[in-house]
């Protein structure tokens, strides 16, 4: 519990209105979008909502002086418990820092505050013919600060990369309140350690990101969408590999297995041939119609050489929208199949995609649990969803074993625990098996150097 005096100081820093300590308000900042149980609630002692870097710095200096835990929070759309204030203390909500500070047209860069929502940044660029590609499915409500702290990816990663590929520099408030600036607008920059990359993906454990310089690229002029149906998963994966090898790089390539396809069919009351084992939705983009048509043609030919049974090339924006609606509706369609769904996020080398899906099938049979698999096939990032009823204790135990085995399988094929959602609370038990003792010791050494009192987001990434 924070004493009155500290709360008074916090109010003096950010303004009375922006310090919340009523029970319901504290409860509201106790959860995120992960499956960490709602109760018992991990309530912060107080929610602090700063507006400026100076305010963040003053809050951190105060917290450091009194060893008060601080958990940064964007929109709490994180899937691994990152913004949950496990140790109480301060929930530092950055969602009021929503200014786009500078637009540098010549260098095609913007400087934004941490609380800017991804969609607002995207729209800001789009209005100027520029493109901010990272597109986590949560882009309409997640914040840039949260995206950077989780190094969020999205469907466009296969062609355009993930958040880190667009972060040129950061303004960070360290645990003791020091404000530092990393990186900058120079494309080539090897002055000292690459701190920008260090803070990107640090899940709020090393510093509070207050501003970011982000790179934009010219907006592709045209887009189109294709839907491919395959009788086997291997054929679907092979099509994608062949495309990438031949230099046909899709802007997005989303793969769904049969469980997903049938879930969507049921949800949208459609009939889909049960012989279809895999569906791939592809987005392509280009600057002119010929280039676009050429890509569709090439993809169609490659798919045919792998026995594709149906190729649908959207003939209108409406049709493209219809195809994407299937992919977007997937999460709820799958969710509707069982009382609970444990969605995971693993990442494997691209060529291991069919192998990992086969292994997941095996796990599904072994534990008698349906597991729907979909993912960003172009980059090897997979979201297996275990469909279950956690209120049944016997089943819950099987679920946890199945999830353990999924992680083990990912590591066995040369993959990792998390493609884009981070480690947070939900995956910290597995971190040693992923990084080894030496790896985790290195993380801890970095943490110790930057946050000696351990006040920033305690309890995350490792136990």
């Amino acid at each position: 519990m924070l004493n009155k005096e500290i709360k008074e100081k916090l109010r003096a820093i950010v303004g009375t209105e922006h310090v919340l300590d009523a029970n319901l308000d504290r409860f509201g900042y106790s959860y995120d979008s992960s499956f960490v149980p709602l109760l018992p609630a991990n309530k912060p002692d107080v929610v602090v909502r700063p507006r400026t870097t100076a305010e963040v710095a003053a809050v951190m200096a105060l917290a450091n002086e009194h060893s008060i835990p601080v958990t940064p929070r964007g929109a709490a759309s994180g899937r691994t418990g990152g913004s949950i204030p496990l140790a109480g203390g301060i929930s530092l909500a950055l969602d009021r820092m929503t200014s786009i500070v500078e637009f540098d047209e010549k260098n095609m860069m913007v400087t934004v505050e941490a609380g800017v929502r991804t969609i607002d940044l995207y729209n800001f660029g789009a209005e100027r013919g520029l493109f901010y590609p990272p597109d986590p499915a949560s882009w309409k409500f997640s914040t840039i600060g949260g995206n950077i702290a989780e190094n969020a990816g999205g469907m466009r990663a296969v062609k355009y990369g993930v958040t880190t590929n667009y972060v040129m520099g950061l303004e960070v408030v360290l645990a003791d309140g020091t404000v530092i600036h990393t990186g900058g607008k120079a494309i080539k920059n090897v002055t000292g350690y690459d701190l920008t990359s260090l803070f990107t993906g640090s899940e709020g454990t090393l510093g509070v990101i207050t501003k970011a310089i982000l790179r934009l690229i010219p907006m592709p002029k045209l887009r189109n969408t294709l839907q491919l149906m395959f009788p086997s998963l291997d054929d679907a994966c092979n099509t994608i590999h062949k495309m990438l090898q031949s230099g046909v790089i899709p802007a997005a390539a989303e793969l769904m297995d049969k469980t997903c396809i049938q879930a969507v069919a049921r949800h949208r009351k459609m009939d889909i041939d049960p012989a279809i084992e895999a569906c791939v939705v592809i987005e392509i983009d280009a600057d002119d119609t010929e280039a676009l048509a050429k890509q569709s043609k090439q993809i169609e030919e490659i798919a045919k050489s792998f026995y594709v049974v149906e190729v649908r090339i959207a003939a209108s924006p409406q049709e493209a929208e219809d195809i994407w609606a299937i992919r977007r509706g997937l999460s709820s369609a799958v969710g509707a199949m069982a009382p609970n769904r444990l969605g995971e996020d693993i990442s494997v080398p691209r060529d291991a995609f069919p192998e990992i899906v086969r292994r997941i099938r095996g796990i599904s049979e072994k534990y008698r649990l349906p597991i729907a698999v979909y993912g960003h096939a172009g980059d090897g990032n997979i979201h297996p969803s275990v469909l279950c009823d956690l209120s049944n204790e016997e089943e819950a135990a099987r679920v946890h074993q199945a999830v353990d085995e999924i992680f083990a399988a990912a590591l066995a094929v040369g993959g990792t625990l998390s493609g884009e959602h981070g480690i947070g609370i939900t995956k910290r038990d597995y971190i040693v098996s992923a990084l080894g003792e030496g790896g985790v010791r290195t993380l801890k050494a970095i943490k110790q150097a930057l946050d000696p009192k351990g006040i920033l987001n305690p309890g995350k990434i490792w136990n």
Partner: protein, 407 residues
């Protein structure tokens, strides 16, 4: 929503809100979160407060009730939610739980509920809201603000200038069969505040059919929304009885038609009433929904720029979006406003409970109306119309009317 006991109420709540996986998709769409951006004000926040209440993690304290009352029941969140979590129903169920636990709804809701429950009182209140004033609840009632009505006559006099496209359109070729017995549902809000507009509704209906006028009772929405479920059920049954003979029931109040269409779901567990309620709900139609189905052609096209505020209970409540716009296009120079389907902040009694917040919500609406340059904003619900009238008064740039006055 079949159960009635107190514990079961919480089970009802839990059944709904446990489907929320806290994804956050609803955050940007809730108009209240847009004004007060703290988690507890959002749909995600309220659903999880409700869930913690149902699971024993929060006690039934007044701040929890205040949190669930802080909801417009506008369903913008439900619409966008990937899991279709019915936040509005969950909020109503928690309010009912509190009412049961504390021996009834709050005093002002009770006073309001009993006025609306009573036919005579509603009639007496007509136009002047005399009774409301006498019992001293005029400021508390949702319709407590008697708006200045802009009549159809004034409208035509002002806009039927040289550019108007001739006189009244020829009689509409109705497509519903001649034998269809169409009955009118006269909602309390229309009766008490906009009797002039209601007359126009009946006049329009009369060009298509011989509408049967029924001495109906309140649809019960205000009761259901504020923890007076027993009263709601009694009113619902009375209306079902009264309209047994009709084939189609039409109301120009979107809140009423939506409530009546949803009535069946609240009687589904009652063996004596389930079938009748089902049959009843299926014959209810919104005003413009009926007009388009019946092939109605507006009586005139006027050279007025009109924009439309889409009531939550019409668009999201009943999926009626195209019909009013189609009719308005035929009757005027129609312009769509940005965010036409965003709640105006009226929402039953919300604007009395949280006047400042409702004021900010309405201000955003007013600015959107002004952006269109429209001279008239029309809508299809008396509660929204009160809000539109307030916005019109503040703006001075446009007038507010019910849609039946311009078709």
């Amino acid at each position: 929503m079949k159960s009635t006991g107190k514990r079961d109420r919480l089970q009802d709540v839990h059944d709904i809100v446990s489907q929320c996986d806290r994804c956050g998709t609803c955050l940007p769409v809730c108009p209240l979160f847009g004004v007060k951006d703290v988690e507890a004000a959002s749909a995600r926040g309220k659903n999880n407060i409700a869930r913690a209440l149902a699971q024993g993690g929060l006690d039934a304290t007044p701040d929890v009730l205040a949190a669930v009352n802080f909801c417009l029941l506008c369903r913008a969140c439900v619409d966008t939610c990937p899991s279709k979590v019915k936040t509005d129903e969950a909020m109503m169920a928690v309010r009912q739980y509190f009412a049961d636990a504390t021996g009834g709804a709050g005093i002002k809701y009770k006073a309001l509920g009993s006025v609306l429950k009573n036919r005579t009182m509603v009639k007496l209140a007509s136009g002047a809201l005399k009774v409301m004033k006498r019992v001293g609840i005029n400021r508390l009632a949702p319709y407590g603000m008697a708006p200045s009505e802009f009549t159809r006559e004034e409208y035509l006099a002002r806009f039927a200038g040289p550019a108007a496209l001739g006189a009244a359109a020829p009689a509409s070729p109705a497509t519903l069969s001649d034998n269809t017995k169409v009955a009118y549902f006269y909602g309390c809000g229309m009766k008490m505040m906009f009797p002039e507009a209601a007359k126009q509704t009946v006049a329009i209906l009369s060009t298509l059919t011989e509408p049967k006028l029924v001495d109906n009772v309140c649809c019960g929405l205000p009761h259901l929304a504020h923890g007076q479920k027993e009263d709601f059920l009694a009113l619902a049954k009375e209306n079902i009885r009264l309209y047994a003979e009709a084939d189609v029931v039409v109301s120009e109040c979107a809140s009423c038609s939506s409530m009546l269409k949803h009535t069946a779901q609240y009687l589904a567990g009652d063996p004596e009433w389930a079938d009748r309620a089902n049959a009843f709900s299926r014959k209810v139609m919104g005003f413009t929904e009926y007009l388009v189905k019946a092939g109605y052609k507006p009586r005139q096209k006027v050279d007025a720029t009109i924009t439309f505020h889409e009531p939550c209970h019409l668009g999201r409540g009943q999926g009626i979006k195209k019909q009013p716009r189609e009719l308005l296009q035929a009757a005027s120079n129609y312009v769509e406003m940005p965010g036409a389907d965003t709640c105006c902040g009226g929402a039953g009694t919300f604007h009395m409970d949280y006047p400042e917040i409702a004021g900010v919500v309405l201000d955003k609406k007013r600015q959107n109306i002004e952006k269109t340059g429209a001279a008239i904003v029309v809508t299809e619900c008396p509660v929204c119309l009160v809000q539109m009238a307030k916005a019109a008064e503040k703006s001075g740039k446009f007038r507010a009317m019910h849609i039946s006055q311009v078709l």
